[in-house]
């Protein structure tokens, strides 16, 4: 079915824009960049229609990539139902965000560079999703990490942007280290990296080994999907252009960890301990990030922490055994979070770069389309029935209750906070009086059309029944339907919305009055639990200082330079002594020649002549 064409189209777009983009007019760059991704989407749809119901995986082998001993890595793509969902999300949302970027990036420098990177990202993301062995998945995994780094640091003349790019890259290295170890261990244990070979054999291995593999994979997933303790890079990653935040750091790349864990479900179902760890990390991240989101003033930071929090929900779903619920939430989150980011981008665009919500307000009337579409996303993420977030979040929470009731309750509290901070952001931005100085202007159709499509998807996306579609793919634990649980979580979300409405619309001064008695807690949360400071003190500073004192001053400047300089010094010393022979006096040279000849002759004489 020519699966190779799916990633190759964006790659071609990257090649054309990357090599010739500097000389091409914007219209051509747009056509190439957007066209390649839209064509990829069309090809995905065509392929999936041609493949029928996908009860079994459809695999295509292109060539053997690595053949060494018993290691045999093929460049193989495969499509099953999980891949189908991911392909549609990646290319679909990707197409919309590419179209949006035409409008958003219209006045930015480095236009062709932006689209080239974006296309390259699409290529690697599609390789990641289509890969049918762990190494190929890792290729895509690293590739999207690279593109993430390039796009976070897109404004490379700004120090904070390049720092954020470095942070993302370095933190991801930690996760990737775990992932690499997992790949090595998988190969050592199962003798192969192909999903089709590894997964049937997991049942035969001891639980300790499978759990270790599962936990190592989880380290990788925590890095890529911004979970505790490696989530710190994602909020900083908002330094990149807003479409990048929407595409890479909300809808697609950061969900790669969830995808990878779901893909590796045969490993996890034989490692209940590892699954429990996933669930705990997920619910803890969801809760912690939500608390931080409550107190942020930068509109993108709110949604960044919201993304971390929602990714935590997905991990909670996967960890609780509800893999399909995790993927379900992945999809609905891609809809509404991409929309929230694109909407906030539209707001920022309207205000010529203003991101602080304290300088917004009352934008409802000035940019009505952005407001209307973002509202759709807000009700979806808040879990208001019957919009998309309601279905997926409840699927996860019900499974969490089945797994461990305390996780359910923490999830419910988080759902309330989610509703609160999203609507706080909405009210601060769109309601009340305008507090800024710029003159807001509504965005053009290139930005509004994707917003509108995503708004429809956010509202109605819940009716795309992913759990039913993936029913046979994942082993489904029998979870009893419980209407009370659903009612509790919906109520929690509605209370959050109501609180936000009271505090930010009805009585605008109330938020400050509410905060002042708990100043300590507020400061703690506002400063993101001081996690960055903690990491700085415990990890970054020791590493940097250790590198400076031991590796640089000691090993490099002392030892390595010492060897090199010492060699030079010895040569200089010997040369300094030998220099005395070089007197410039021809007769002394002649004497040396004579002396040498005599010594040689005498030596030959002692040795008994030349024979």
């Amino acid at each position: 079915m020519q699966l190779w064409l799916i990633p190759l189209l964006p790659l071609a777009g990257f090649a054309i824009n990357g090599i010739f983009g500097r000389r091409l007019p914007k219209s051509v760059i747009n056509t190439v960049a957007v066209g390649s991704v839209v064509l990829a989407f069309a090809w995905v749809v065509r392929t999936l229609l041609g493949l029928g119901d996908l009860e079994a995986a459809h695999t295509e082998h292109y060539f053997t990539w690595i053949q060494s001993g018993s290691l045999n890595i093929g460049w193989d793509f495969s499509v099953d139902r999980l891949t189908a969902v991911m392909l549609l999300i990646v290319t679909g949302i990707g197409s919309l965000i590419h179209i949006y970027s035409i409008g958003y990036m219209a006045h930015e420098g480095g236009y062709y560079r932006f689209f080239a990177y974006l296309n390259l990202f699409m290529f690697f993301m599609l390789v990641l999703v289509l890969a049918s062995n762990y190494l190929l998945l890792f290729v895509g995994w690293e590739g999207v990490g690279l593109c993430s780094y390039l796009l976070i640091g897109f404004y490379f003349d700004k120090k904070f942007a390049t720092n954020a790019g470095n942070k993302a890259f370095i933190v991801n290295r930690i996760g990737d280290f775990g992932f690499s170890l997992a790949i090595f261990y998988i190969f050592k244990t199962f003798g192969s990296l192909d999903f089709a070979t590894v997964f049937p054999r997991t049942a035969g291995e001891s639980e300790a080994i499978v759990t270790t593999i599962g936990l190592l994979l989880l380290v990788g997933a925590c890095g890529k999907s911004a979970q505790i303790p490696l989530y710190v890079w994602l909020p900083d990653a908002m330094a990149g252009p807003t479409p990048v935040s929407a595409l890479i750091h909300a809808a697609t790349m950061v969900t790669a960890g969830v995808y990878m864990c779901a893909r590796s479900f045969p490993i996890y179902i034989h490692a209940p301990q590892a699954m429990n760890v996933i669930a705990v990390i997920g619910v803890a991240t969801a809760f912690m990030a939500a608390t931080i989101g409550l107190a942020q003033n930068d509109i993108k930071k709110v949604f960044a922490y919201s993304t971390v929090s929602q990714l935590g929900y997905m991990f909670l779903g996967v960890g609780a055994g509800a893999f399909s619920a995790g993927i379900y939430h992945l999809m609905t989150h891609a809809f509404f979070k991409a929309l929230l980011f694109l909407g906030s981008g539209s707001v920022i665009h309207a205000l010529s770069g203003e991101q602080d919500m304290r300088n917004m307000g009352g934008l409802r009337k000035k940019i009505p389309w952005t407001f209307a579409t973002m509202m759709c996303a807000a009700v979806a993420i808040a879990g208001v029935p019957p919009f998309s977030g309601f279905f997926s979040k409840d699927a996860i929470l019900v499974a969490a209750n089945h797994h461990a009731p305390w996780m359910f309750w923490l999830g419910v509290v988080t759902a309330g906070m989610t509703a609160f901070y999203v609507f706080r952001a909405m009210f601060l931005t769109f309601f009340g009086e305008y507090r800024g100085h710029e003159h807001p202007h509504e965005s053009g159709p290139a930005m509004l059309i994707p917003l509108a499509i995503l708004a429809v998807l956010s509202l109605a996306g819940g009716f795309i029944k992913i759990p039913v579609f993936l029913d046979k793919f994942f082993p489904t634990a029998e979870v009893p339907e419980d209407f009370t649980l659903v009612a509790i979580s919906v109520a929690s979300g509605l209370i959050g919305i109501l609180l936000a409405y009271i505090m930010y619309v009805l009585k605008p001064g109330m938020a400050d009055a509410f905060v002042s008695p708990i100043k300590g807690v507020y400061t703690f949360v506002y400063n993101k639990w001081y996690v960055d400071e903690l990491y700085d003190a415990t990890v970054v500073t020791p590493v940097v200082e250790g590198s400076r004192a031991v590796l640089w001053k000691g090993v490099d400047a002392g030892f390595i330079d010492g060897i090199v300089n010492g060699t030079a010094d010895v040569a200089r010393l010997i040369g300094g002594e030998l220099r005395r022979i070089q007197s410039g006096n021809v007769r002394s040279y002649a004497t040396w020649v004579l002396l040498g000849s005599v010594i040689v002759i005498v030596a030959i004489g002692f040795a008994g002549g030349i024979r």
Partner: protein, 102 residues
């Protein structure tokens, strides 16, 4: 010819060579030094011819011719250098031509 023993030829060669060495090391005039070199070369040539005569082999003659050719070439180059040195420095004292020291 046969009446003169080889010893005499070799002794003469050794004496000439020693004179050449002494002139080379102790004289200050470049041309004298140069002539001393020629003297050494010819002393060696004499030895070659002697041994060639003694062992009835042509190798010695051959080498003597080689030495002559090299000596001729060397004389041409050497005299050219001496001329140039004199033009530049107005001296032929070898102790004053020590630019290469240290």
């Amino acid at each position: 010819m046969g009446a003169v023993p080889i010893f005499w030829y070799l002794s003469l060669s050794a004496v000439l060579f020693t004179l050449g060495v002494a002139g080379f090391v102790f004289r200050r005039n470049i041309i004298t030094v140069f002539m001393s070199i020629e003297l050494m070369l010819n002393a060696v040539n004499l030895s070659f011819i002697t041994f060639s005569y003694r062992w009835k082999q042509v190798d010695g003659h051959l080498l003597a011719f080689f030495v002559m050719v090299v000596a001729a070439a060397e004389a041409a180059v050497g005299l050219a250098i001496i001329l140039t040195v004199y033009k530049n420095r107005q001296t032929l004292n070898i102790d004053e031509i020590d630019t290469l020291k240290n």
